[in-house]
């Protein structure tokens, strides 16, 4: 009987155009946009050319200074600051008119960097210009000390070397935040209409009364409907992951190089699917509760929207944490642990203890939700309008 109801409800869901749209097309569009955006973002630092506006008189010196910075193009203009304000350059260098002369003479010289820190491009150029000028400053100091017969080590007592313990770049960190968020939102948004339709919709259409008049046990009905909501979520999750994998493999260059799981690829994808299944079961149980409480589809949706936002919220708690900073609590707290596990997996880490904790704690909450759902579903107040 459970299978009968499950198959019928699933068929009904997939005949609904809203469900189809949210289940198949939305994840494809969302993930395509995200994947291509991040691929372009990864390539932007290397391939994109930025414009640095300088005064006409400073053009030669500027070209010499920035000859080693390949993606900065020098644009000599009468008013560099105005050029930045007009958006024709990302940053500008303004000197006192005798910058090169003063450096040569060993007299104080000044130079201003003008840019807009709110613009990522401008901030990048300002940072590159600052680094270049800093290197130039060091060179000038070294030359002056040498000419005075002083050892350079007197002003540079030590050197600083920065080493990364993680081979992953900043883009990978962003991806480890955004992929779980998009996955969670896609599952939540996609399974929402099905959930609202299966309980509140049945009450609104009066099909619930017809259903309750059959000799089918209410718990069987509840379980079948919960499984349908969860299945819709799982399908969305699978499509989302599939789209990401295919697009990263065939449509991107930089992301393909950034996401390199090596031999662990099948395992990581397999566990990502496990996370998707667990999240869909959790999400299904939560949406089921909002739909039982709602008398109409509209009412159920007004309950499910904030609840969905809350279930995605824990992802924010681990935004600034590296994989090595995640502690046991991050893998014990339901929902938060789903995001923590995905973060680990995206960093290429497979920890079976953490995976078991994630599955166990979330399924415990699912059982709790289903028990509450059953109690509500057995009461006349919640099954009939």
């Amino acid at each position: 009987m459970l299978l009968n109801i499950y198959l019928k409800e699933l068929k009904d869901c997939f005949r609904d155009r809203r469900t189809l749209l949210l289940t198949v097309f939305l994840p494809i569009v969302m993930m395509t946009g995200l994947t291509l955006f991040y691929d372009s973002m990864l390539s932007s630092d290397n391939d994109k050319t930025y414009t640095l506006a300088v005064e006409n008189s400073f053009q030669g010196e500027a070209e010499r200074l920035f000859a080693e910075v390949p993606n900065i193009k020098i644009d000599a203009v009468a008013n560099p600051e105005q050029t930045v304000e007009d958006g024709d350059a990302q940053a500008a260098l303004v000197t006192d008119g005798s910058f090169s002369q003063n450096i040569q003479n060993g007299t104080p010289a000044s130079i201003s960097i003008i840019g807009n820190s709110f613009s990522e491009n401008s901030a990048y150029v300002m940072s590159a210009v600052t680094s270049t000028l800093s290197a130039f400053e060091n060179t000038v100091v070294a030359e002056r000390l040498q000419s005075e017969g002083v050892d350079n080590s007197l002003v540079q007592p030590f050197t600083v070397e920065q080493k990364e313990i993680s081979s992953e770049g900043g883009a990978m960190m962003m991806l480890s935040l955004l992929i779980p968020l998009i996955l969670a939102l896609a599952i939540g948004v996609g399974a929402g209409p099905a959930a609202a339709d299966l309980f509140a919709g049945e009450k609104e259409r009066k099909t619930m009364e017809a259903l309750l008049m059959t000799p089918v046990n209410r718990t069987t009905m509840l379980m079948a409907k919960w499984l349908v909501i969860s299945t819709v979520g799982i399908v969305i999750g699978l499509i989302t992951l599939l789209v990401v994998c295919l697009e990263v493999a065939f449509l991107t260059e930089n992301l393909r190089e950034a996401i390199n799981f090596g031999d662990q690829f099948p395992l990581i994808i397999g566990f990502a699917l496990l996370v998707t299944v667990v999240y869909s079961l959790f999400n299904g149980a939560l949406l089921m509760l909002t739909s039982i409480v709602g008398k109409t589809i509209k009412e159920a949706q007004s309950y499910s929207a904030p609840v969905m936002m809350l279930s995605v919220f824990p992802a924010m708690f681990i935004t600034n944490l590296g994989v090595n900073e995640l502690t046991l609590k991050h893998f014990t707290i339901p929902i938060l642990n789903l995001f923590s596990i995905l973060k680990e997996l995206l960093a290429g880490v497979i920890n079976y203890e953490h995976l078991a904790l994630m599955v166990g704690t979330n399924l415990l909450v699912v059982v709790l939700f289903i028990t509450v759902g059953r109690l509500l579903f057995l009461k006349d107040k919640w099954v009939m309008n």
């Binding site: 009987m1 009968n4 109801i5 019928k8 009904d12 005949r15 609904d16 259409r205 009066k206 099909t207 009364e209 017809a210 259903l211 309750l212 008049m213 059959t214 000799p215 089918v216 006349d380 009939m384």
Partner: protein, 250 residues
């Protein structure tokens, strides 16, 4: 047979308790068609839902086909067909046949039994032409026929209709009336609520009138006409309500 014995139903709404039925007792004999009359909010739907096992009486008991509604609801559900409203309880994205097959499966009918029942009902209600079309595009009359077919898919002994012709046009209402005649011929026990006195006069063997949750009259229709000295059921209904204390009936 339906035996209603001293049934009281109270609804607890936050701090307020509403009594929808007060010590209602009457019997619907096998093969009888009984009309349930009453104003809006009189308690007709509550009574029908209680008989259908969807609501549990606060006090008293109901027996349907020899089974208690509280102790043996599943036995009753196998033997009873219920239609709340004229054309409700259908899945719009399913065809008429898919709707009927689904409910047949929930009642535990085999594929063979289901096919025979659907063929019978399609013939009886003239649904063959649109049996494989999606219900979402149906007219009210077509939907009503499918809804009634769904109610009868498991060939129940007892049928409950809650205001089955409300909101339906004259053709659809006539389809229903004709069907009740046929079901009566087949020996089914029918209890239906209605506001339409002509319909009740035309179809019923007896009537039960409910006013503010209390049964004010349960009588064989012919006997009622004799006792009241009139064959105008509308007049009789209003005079019964006057005796029941309704100021609108004067």
């Amino acid at each position: 047979m339906i035996q209603i014995h001293e049934v009281t139903k109270k609804f607890q709404d936050k701090k307020k308790s509403v009594t929808a039925l007060k010590h209602v007792s009457f019997t619907v004999k096998e093969g009888q068609v009984v009309g349930l009359l009453g104003e809006n909010g009189a308690g007709k739907t509550t009574l029908l839902r209680s008989i259908a096992t969807l609501l549990t009486p606060t006090d008293g008991s109901i027996e349907v086909a020899g089974f208690d509604t509280v102790r043996k609801p599943d036995e009753i559900k196998k033997r009873i067909g219920v239609l709340f409203g004229g054309e409700t309880g259908l899945y719009d994205r399913f065809t008429a046949r898919e709707n009927l097959v689904y409910f047949a499966s929930l009642y535990g009918l085999s594929k063979h039994e289901t096919k025979i029942r659907i063929d019978d009902l399609a013939l009886k209600f003239g649904m063959r032409d649109y049996l494989d079309r999606k219900v979402g595009g149906f007219s009210k009359g077509m939907r009503q026929k499918v809804a009634i077919a769904r109610t009868l898919i498991h060939n129940p002994e007892i049928i409950l209709f809650d205001e089955p012709t409300t909101g339906l046009d004259i053709t659809s209402s006539n389809v229903f009336r004709q069907l009740v005649h046929e079901l009566k011929r087949d020996g089914k026990t029918i209890l239906f609520s209605s506001h339409i006195m002509e319909e009740v006069s035309m179809l019923c063997d007896s009537v039960a009138m409910i006013h503010k949750g209390e049964l004010v009259c349960h009588e064989d229709l012919e006997m009622l006409y004799t006792l009241e000295g009139s064959r105008d059921l509308n007049y009789i209904f209003m005079s019964k309500l006057v005796r029941g204390g309704n100021s609108y009936a004067s």
